[in-house]
């Protein structure tokens, strides 16, 4: 939303100019917020109102303000944001403005520009010629780039809480503890994901190794097969465990019946080697080396796999981004059009993804650790649900609910 502050002065109450202006704002599909109002005490006293008018586009706002000026509205003078040049590559000017993940506007040359994308813990670089403003990380900024400093000329629009009772996220918007019932929420989440599919939303899964180790992999595979997953974000170890399970039936040498397989401790190393030898996960699927599991399902169903590395990784397997700065870039890029995110049993990866999300992305976090859930959902205070539970029963119930209502029609989903 774009906004402008207008001021009305005069006998705006007796002349009914104030209600007229407010009605005009609404009939033009815009909104208003009265910031200040002073009503004259005596008959001849003039009144004053300061009104923030917001509209969907700058064009709609300009046209509306032009109309309101006919009725005496004056545009309140607002200061431009202050800019300073980045002193060196990768260094912001001192006092740089630090972004939140809320929709943000910056005023330059008297006009508001929306900062793209809405990304927290960034600075704002402004290109006055192109009339654009972008949220930038350290590695994005070059010496001489103009960066916003201080808070002047900045407007942040928090996500509004919906009053709709049909919106699961905004209605519930809480954490369900371990000892609370979850079935109703999971059923509603299934319906929400179905609505997202129909609306061409994009669903991302951030998956931790516990999914494989607890045996929940088969349920995730069902979701993938039902075409409810567009992106999979995970670490090297998740992929390795999944491949180990697919090739040897174990994860970290352990069978699902809690028995250690003979020579099982070697299995994950052999799994890594197999994928490296094949030239990567996709190649292993094509060569029919990898014939089951989550990675296999992702390749079969054209799910985007975004794998990033960590300091503890063995291998890593080909396709894992090991440069952390590069990994952040890739993750941001792959999250840009995502509408729904399921953060499943992986605190570090969940926190990294949550910090990159726009505030409107609907987020579900499932973890056995209550503090992990709490930390992950705090980035999306009005768009999140946290469930403190083992990930296996959660995924099983979610997959069951979705399977009961059938797969997404093939035509509903564009192949990637």
């Amino acid at each position: 939303m774009f906004s402008e502050t207008i001021e009305l002065r005069g006998h705006i109450i007796d002349s009914l100019i104030l209600p007229k202006v407010l009605v005009q704002i609404l009939t033009h599909g815009a909104n208003f917020k009265i910031g200040e109002i002073k009503i004259g005490k005596k008959r001849a006293d003039q009144s004053f109102a300061r009104i923030e008018v917001s509209a969907e586009t700058t064009e709609a706002l300009d046209e509306l303000v032009l109309r309101l000026r006919q009725h005496g509205a004056e545009v309140a003078k607002r200061a431009d944001a202050q800019l300073a040049q980045a002193p060196a590559d990768g260094v912001f000017p001192r006092e740089f403005y630090v972004t939140t993940n809320q929709q943000t506007f910056v005023r330059c040359d008297g006009k508001e520009i929306e900062v793209q994308p809405a990304m927290m813990d960034s600075a704002i670089a402004v290109d006055r010629k192109k009339h654009s403003a972008r949220a930038v990380k350290f590695f994005d900024v070059s010496k001489g780039d103009e960066v916003v400093v201080g808070h002047q000329g900045i407007r942040v629009v928090p996500v509004q809480r919906s009053t709709s009772r049909t919106d699961l996220f905004q209605f519930i918007n809480t954490t369900i503890d371990a000892d609370e019932p979850k079935s109703a929420i999971i059923r509603e989440l299934a319906r929400e994901l179905q609505r997202a599919r129909r609306a061409k939303g994009k669903v991302a899964i951030v998956a931790g190794p516990a999914i494989v180790r607890t045996g929940a992999g088969e349920h995730l595979v069902r979701l993938i097969e039902l075409r409810y997953v567009d992106r999979l974000f995970a670490g090297n170890s998740f992929a390795v465990y999944d491949v180990e399970r697919a090739l040897f039936g174990t994860s970290l040498g352990m069978n699902l019946d809690l028995a250690f397989a003979r020579g099982g401790h070697e299995n994950h190393m052999r799994a890594i080697n197999a994928i490296r030898e094949a030239g990567g996960i996709s190649a292993a699927v094509q060569k029919k080396i990898l014939t089951g599991g989550i990675m296999h399902a992702c390749v079969r169903r054209h799910v985007d796999i975004v794998l990033t590395g960590s300091i503890r990784d063995e291998g890593p397997i080909p396709g894992v981004t090991i440069d952390v700065v590069e990994a952040q870039k890739v993750m941001r890029e792959k999250l840009a059009d995502v509408t729904h995110v399921l953060l499943l049993a992986t605190i570090q990866h969940s926190l990294a993804v949550a910090s990159m999300l726009a505030p409107t992305v609907k987020t579900v976090c499932v973890d056995i650790d209550p503090s992990a859930v709490e930390r992950a959902v705090e980035h999306q205070p009005l768009q999140s649900i946290g469930l403190v539970t083992d990930v296996e029963p959660f995924l099983q119930e979610l997959a069951d609910c979705i399977a009961d209502s059938g797969p997404v029609a093939a035509g509903d989903r564009k192949r990637q």
Partner: protein, 266 residues
């Protein structure tokens, strides 16, 4: 005794088109215009009015419409800032004349359009002001600041009734004559809230500029062609003086447009 300012129609004519009534193809007959104006002068003179005349100026044909010279309250005169360049030349002549006659000239900022008594009419202690076609609403605030009175701003929506005095006329008993369709909804509501009784003019009578009337106590001087309004006004105890105004209606004006009160209010 009321004092009025009039301007003889020596240079009057339809020389440009700045409202829907004006058509250079349908010019005013100079002799008939003179006759009609003299009849107005005579009628007002008989009503115990002191009439002042400002000298007409060549190339300023609309100077005859003195109501648009400005607004006079007490000894203050607020000259008009005409919206159209064609009339802007009138302002210094009116201001000079008023100054020479002892009025304190209170100029509005140059960027605020205001067309005097044409868009500013008192009803009791309230100054009703029209805006959009000629005056800016911003000028109303400046006038309210200068005069320290309540100003009701009314948006005009019919370009044929481009000044407030073409569609609204307040009477001394708190009543007002008006043509509601000339105002938008909120303006209509504001008028209803501030006027105790309203006499509505029929569209066909409004087209004869019957709202454009000069009210001197119980006498009302208006253009002919509004029998129903005249009957209503007589029922309210007013004496009506109906005058032919055909040549001035061709320029979008009639009795009131040809007259400015000095002052409109003390």
């Amino acid at each position: 005794m009321r004092e009025l300012l009039l301007c003889p129609p020596d240079f009057y004519g339809i020389e440009y088109e700045i409202n829907p009534w004006m058509s250079r193809a349908r010019g005013a007959e100079a002799a008939l215009a003179q006759k009609q104006w003299k009849e107005l002068y005579a009628t007002l003179s008989k009503l115990d009015c002191k009439i002042h005349l400002v000298a007409p100026q060549p190339k300023l044909p609309d100077m005859v419409f003195t109501a648009n010279a400005g607004l006079t309250v007490g000894r203050k005169f607020i000259p008009s800032n005409f919206r159209h360049q064609e009339r802007a030349g009138e302002a210094p002549h009116f201001a000079k004349w008023m100054e020479e006659h002892g009025y304190e000239i209170r100029w509005l900022p140059d960027d605020l359009y205001f067309e005097g008594e044409g868009d500013a009419l008192f009803g009791d202690d309230v100054l009703f002001c029209g805006y959009k076609f000629r005056s800016d609403i911003q000028s109303h605030r400046a006038v309210a600041d200068m005069l320290g009175c309540l100003v009701i701003s009314l948006e005009l929506v019919d370009p044929r009734f481009y000044h407030l005095d073409t569609c609204f006329c307040s009477l001394p008993d708190g009543t007002a004559v008006w043509f509601p369709a000339a105002f938008e909804e909120y303006g209509q509501r504001a008028i209803r809230e501030h006027v105790t009784e309203l006499i509505e003019v029929l569209p066909e009578e409004a087209m004869h500029f019957s709202c454009n009337a000069v009210v001197i106590e119980r006498d009302i001087v208006l253009s002919e062609g509004a029998p129903k309004l005249v009957a209503t006004l007589r029922d309210h105890g007013y004496r009506c003086h109906q005058l032919p105004m055909s040549e001035f209606i061709k320029a979008g004006g009639a009795c009131k447009c040809l007259t400015m009160f000095m002052p409109q209010r003390q």
